[in-house]
Symmetry: C2
Subunit: 136 residues, 2 copies
DNA sequence: CTTGCTCCTGTAGTGGCTACAGGAAGTAGA
DNA sequence: TCTACTTCCTGTAGCCACTACAGGAGCAAG
């Protein structure tokens, strides 16, 4: 059994974040030592690591909770998981496209921007009436 | 002069958001009618529009405030603007790269995921010890 | 005058943490 | 055993950029 500091090291989840996950019911409450300190088993640490990896993949907490309940039930809901992963992929793709459009807009705006100009053409363009951004 | 609803329509900034911007000192307080309602001039609406466009480009509020103070001073700090825009571009590029790495990771994880499987290989992989994500 | 719309203020909630403050428990060395 | 140091505890508040109420007031059309 490990104290929260060790659990944090092993899972890669910040100590404060672990306590936050517990408060929010995202991971189950661990046991406590005689002195009132949290004690984590390997399984509980694995769960924390799982949450961190899902977060790293950009999954929101709500989805991760579904994942956790599926693994708890040893459910055969691989299809369900796949659907959620695919939806998430769609969101990631949408974000990438958005950012790329944004990059183009910003590039073309800042292109005319040169040191020493009296009025910044970028700020000018953004202030003007007839200006429209691609599809933000 | 326009009430907040019209100002919202013309600037594309949500009514609640306009009030929020005012509270936070991001845009100056407008005048008021006899009955206490906010009244916006065309210039003030242009400022709101400017903020929205900058937000659409992903600039954080703090940067936009700098932009606004530069346009207020009619400053010739185009170089400054360009630097900030370039920093922002770097951030956008970093985000895009991150998302693309993430997409690859998610794709390779969910690839083995097929309907009807007893234990989902994706969740399995995320739960296991030896697994490492690219560079999240 | 009534209906219905817009507007007002103030407060609280969102997501996913992060950062304290003020104290208790545990550990290592003298 | 005493002391110094570290880790842990709870509880609360802050971050960003909004968004969503509640409960009331102003205003225009019919």
């Amino acid at each position: 059994m490990f104290t929260i500091g060790k659990a944090s090291e092993q899972s890669g989840v910040n100590v404060e974040t672990i306590r936050y996950y517990e408060r929010e019911g995202i991971v189950p409450k661990p046991g406590r030592s005689a002195g009132g300190r949290r004690l984590y088993s390997n399984d509980e640490i694995a769960k924390l690591r799982f949450v961190r990896r899902c977060r790293d993949l950009g999954f929101p907490i709500a989805i991760i909770q579904t994942f956790l309940s599926l693994t708890d039930q040893n459910d055969r809901s691989c299809g369900e998981v796949k659907t959620m992963a695919e939806n998430h992929l769609d969101e990631i793709n949408a974000k990438i496209e958005n950012l790329m459009r944004l990059r183009e807009a910003l590039l073309s705006l800042s292109k005319n921007c040169d040191d020493g100009t009296a009025a910044c053409p970028m700020l000018d363009a953004l202030m003007k009436d007839g200006f429209g951004l691609g599809a933000p």
